[in-house]
Symmetry: C2
Subunit: 139 residues, 2 copies
Amino acid sequence: MKIYFAGSIRGGRQDQALYFEIIKQLEKFGTVLTEHVGNVKVVETETARKDTDIFARDVNWLTQSDAVVAEVTSPSLGVGYEIAMAESLGKKIICIFRPANDRHLSAMIAGNPRLQVSEYTDLVDLDKIFSDFFYLRNR
Amino acid sequence: MKIYFAGSIRGGRQDQALYFEIIKQLEKFGTVLTEHVGNVKVVETETARKDTDIFARDVNWLTQSDAVVAEVTSPSLGVGYEIAMAESLGKKIICIFRPANDRHLSAMIAGNPRLQVSEYTDLVDLDKIFSDFFYLRNR
């Protein structure tokens, strides 16, 4: 199982430590192609690469992947783009979201009948959400 | 010419007044289907609608549109999603971006060879950018 994990990079890195933990959890279910998204230095390492190379690499990984897990709590152009591309490629997708008073998920995600959006507050919730997604829904 | 203008709504409304001016400029070139994006009360009015209705309406407008203008300065899941969907529908797309020291445009946009990204600082720049886009490139 090849997993594409999508999280905000240039949109904001407030959740980097959480992404790192999510990727560790996802590795129980398969290989995470985008492991760098959880890396504390990703903004620096990715800024050293050419944008066209990053784009080509990510589209290649997305195309290869069996499932896409998108963390959608932080607004991010890249994550929104990847979700729509994953949809057009027919990938299995789950969006995970931490609700809070000042956060409202985009209607393009929350109102999209083809997307599964699961709300969570912590990693314990995610363990159950990912088990259901990978073992029950994707067999 | 039907124009779909994409700007951040739930991702953050810092640029609302600017979106309003951009939409006024775009109206010189055609009908802007998404005029509400520049409205000061859009978060409230859209929150009163069902997300599934907003999604269906916006996909319908995107499908009908002749050109898509995406303001990509603010990170936004919806704008990222709309750009990828517009691309898969074969729409003519221009992304407009205001550079600043602390802002780096997503590599999924900046590194995408099929997207035109035009940098600007003010409405005067946009007048030239839009004239070129609508009159020269889209004939």
